[in-house]
């Protein structure tokens, strides 16, 4: 029996490997020219500082399985139920894939920081996103970014998250711990730099995260200011001047930064809504796919035969994404063996 998996990020790749291991054949569809998804833009992962490229390689090697057919540079456009329990997935390259189940592993996209215009991304040179900082880590280009090493760096939490003004009510969960991880990485590269994190709440939800936060203060001398950035401006030296309230002091605070890093949040991928819509799978108001039940029906959707894995249902870290993918593989197997009995 064949299963079509849409999205070759960590969730799709892990589920493909697990399902192939159970004896199913799998078509894995990826719109880019290689697997890995957003993981390809990351340098190191929290909390253990694992190499992101190393994890992608590991996921890729597991796809070398006779049961798995990889379709790269192909975007899934539409899902149709050709007969009860038989699905046809149309790709951008005109191919039509057939499966007894479809797994949506369409993931997320990072928030477009240009939408938060008052933060100056795309306007001021020294405003970058957390994703771009990962790239600077990979290329070891941070120290020479503007000719000389920055002396003061600020990380701005919750950019594109918990913000009614850009219609994202949700917390992206990962940005807090990512900021702590990135601040530590910056400290290792630039021992003299002054580093600040501007946060609303520190949400250290995973194992080892709170410990990392403590270590950031204790060992890496990272400073934390509780306040949300209201606006940023550029001075004549091209530095960024930020305005926040230091809410724990109760006074407005101004600070000049040599580099401002925007911790961009997670939004539903464009493909999720289109594909879910083609099979009447409901979405949350923020565009993520709604599971059949938030406790007992994760990986399942309102439409039997259509499953989900990973961050297409909500912001998720890699640990949870891979766990969710394995769980999805089990749910699919359960459903297929059940429907076999009924046939």
């Amino acid at each position: 029996m064949n299963i079509v998996i849409i999205g070759g990020g960590p969730a799709g790749s892990e589920a493909a490997y697990r399902l192939a291991g159970e004896g199913y054949t799998v078509d894995l569809v990826e719109k880019e020219n290689s697997i890995g998804g957003n993981l390809n833009n990351w340098h190191q992962l929290f909390p253990d500082r694992k190499s992101a490229a190393g994890l992608v390689k590991e996921l890729q090697q597991r796809l070398n399985h006779p049961g798995i057919t990889l379709h790269i540079d192909a975007e899934a456009r539409e899902i149709a139920e050709s007969a009860p329990g038989k699905f046809a997935v149309k790709l951008s390259n005109k191919t039509v894939l057939h499966g007894s189940a479809v797994l949506l592993a369409t993931g997320y996209k990072v928030f477009d920081a240009k939408r938060k215009e008052e933060y100056g991304y795309g306007i001021y040179k020294r405003v970058i996103t957390s994703a771009e900082l990962e790239n600077l880590f990979t290329n070891r280009a941070l120290a020479t970014l503007y000719g000389e090493a920055p002396k003061r760096i600020g990380f701005i939490h919750c950019v594109g998250s918990r913000d009614e003004k850009i219609c994202n009510y949700h917390c992206s969960k990962l940005c807090c711990v990512t900021a702590v991880k990135q601040a530590i990485e910056v400290r290792e590269m630039l021992p003299e730099v002054e580093i600040f994190c501007f946060y609303m709440d520190m949400r250290m939800f995973g194992p080892g995260y709170e410990e990392m936060y403590r270590e950031a203060q204790e060992r890496y001398d990272i400073k934390f200011i509780r306040g949300r950035l209201s606006e940023a401006a550029e001075n004549i030296h091209g530095q960024v001047v930020v305005k926040v309230e230091d809410t724990l002091v109760g006074k407005p605070l101004r600070m000049t930064l040599d580099l401002m890093v925007l911790m961009v949040g997670m939004e539903a991928a464009d493909g999720s809504g289109k594909l879910a819509g083609s099979v009447q799978v409901p979405l949350y108001p923020n565009g993520f796919i709604r599971p059949a039940d938030p406790h007992t029906g994760t990986n399942l959707t309102a439409r039997p035969g259509i499953f989900t894995a990973g961050s297409c249902t909500s912001p998720m870290n890699l640990t949870d994404t891979l766990t969710d993918a394995r769980s999805a593989a089990w749910q699919i197997k359960k459903w297929l063996t059940g429907s076999d009995k009924h046939a």
């Binding site: 008052e118 919750c158 918990r162 913000d163 009614e164 003004k165 609303m200 709440d201 509780r226 306040g227 949300r228 950035l229 209201s230 606006e231 305005k243 926040v244 309230e245 230091d246 809410t247 109760g250 006074k251 407005p252 605070l253």
Partner: protein, 112 residues
């Protein structure tokens, strides 16, 4: 058995939520329900025109009202110029303009 440290807070230093007059905070929640959405991020205070020039801190003042502490708010509220910048930055969509106007009205009625 009494504890070594005792259990008392100096009345002058503390918010006594059992004794404070809560009519003001109830009226505020009723006339401006969005004021309940504040998460204390301070975006309003950072953007504030009045806070730029004076000791005015809108986040703190509305929080004091919500704890039944109205005296400081009564003293400070006239500093607001209703420029509306707080309304533009609030990530929770608090109708800060309405919140301030409501507080001003209650204080006026209270004085009469």
């Amino acid at each position: 058995m009494p504890t070594l440290w005792g259990y008392s807070i100096s009345a002058a230093r503390s918010i006594d939520y059992d004794k404070n007059d809560q009519s003001f905070l109830r009226r505020l929640a009723h006339s401006c329900p969005s004021s309940k959405l504040c998460i204390g991020c301070g975006g309003c205070t950072a953007a504030c025109s009045a806070g730029n020039l004076t000791e005015f801190n809108i986040r703190q003042l509305q929080m004091l009202v919500k704890r039944g502490e109205t005296r400081e708010t009564a003293e400070q509220l006239h500093k607001c110029m209703l420029c509306g910048k707080c309304l533009l930055v609030c990530p929770r969509g608090v109708d800060t303009r309405k919140m301030i106007l409501s507080m001003k009205r209650f204080l006026r009625e209270h004085d009469q």
